[in-house]
Point group: C2
């Protein structure tokens, strides 16, 4: 049990905030992340697949053990991998979620070099790697194989991929109540030929 310094019990509040490296980025991608998390719980509880979110890497500098273990000084580390990974039908699954306010293309400004390296390695080792991209102003979410993003990222011509190409090569994901985003249907189509 976690206690505040005055001895009262810590109770997490009902609405969790997402903290990011930059204050201005707080809450970015929150809804997509929540929807994926809810979908993963549904998929787990219904024995469909087991995909989990990687915790945000945090470097802990100081811990106060006087009332439980309270972290009093820490900082966010650079993400070196992706948001989610897990197993579906024995295969390794690895993906990154991103969103954009653009209506015409998905810009790579938010993708890190080492995430591209990581996804390339996943593919090299026979894993399934993709992006889930939300076009927020269009209310459309696509699943796109990572190799397509990697190719554009490495070889250009632009630091973005046009929405038309995302539509052509990716799959539009069905949004529903539960699971909120039926992305495993798209995985079945793209990677298991269903």
């Amino acid at each position: 049990m976690i206690h505040y310094p005055d001895g009262s019990e810590y109770k997490p509040t009902a609405t969790k905030k997402t903290y990011n490296k930059k204050g201005s980025e707080a809450n970015r991608g929150m809804n997509l992340e929540e929807a994926i998390n809810q979908s993963n719980e549904y998929y787990r509880d219904n024995d469909i697949c087991l995909i989990t979110k990687r915790p945000t890497p945090i470097n802990v500098v100081k811990v106060d053990y006087s009332h439980g273990a309270r972290i009093t000084d820490a900082y966010f580390e650079k993400e070196s991998t992706t948001d989610y990974n897990g197993v579906y039908k024995g295969r390794y699954i690895d993906f990154e979620t991103k969103n954009t306010k653009s209506k015409t293309s998905f810009p790579f400004s938010n993708i890190e070099d080492h995430q591209i390296d990581h996804l390339e390695r996943v593919i090299h080792h026979g894993g399934i790697a993709f992006f889930i991209i939300e076009f927020q102003l269009l209310d459309q979410i696509y699943l796109l194989d990572a190799s397509i993003i990697i190719d554009h990222y490495r070889n250009g011509p632009a630091k973005s991929i046009p929405l038309a190409e995302v539509k052509e090569k990716g799959l539009l994901l069905e949004q529903a109540f539960s699971p909120r985003i039926k992305y495993i249907d798209a995985v079945d189509k793209l990677y298991f030929g269903k």
Copy 2:
């Protein structure tokens, strides 16, 4: 770049400490974890497999954005999964590392219910799940399929597994310079029939 409140740049110290939920547990398992991390880097850089450590889940309560993003209040969340996962030859790999000072058995006191649930699900979905167990006072490290631990954990008779059974059903891991722990050799033998 991270700064201290006085404006000076934060520089991580060369020797990192491991922080745990309980002060008394600090540094427990540190050497095994470092050895596995080093082995994973070796395996990654030599294109053998891609296995990463899941960051410790931390719930961030307060962030000070006045000098970079500094976490000033946070606490450790309960681990709901395992230490490591990744991909080898297309298959999903998931494992937990544990160590013990016992010379005769591996006690389950350090294993959480939800870790057992998680590993059971991994197996259900066709993933490869195991424990890497270090008997510190014997300087022996074994890889043992998770199903054997799960069976003992669920069905008894004891809250531990005898070393003799670990030796019989598991594989002793070779320790070397690089990779420090050649656990993929054991994965090859146990799961790929080599």
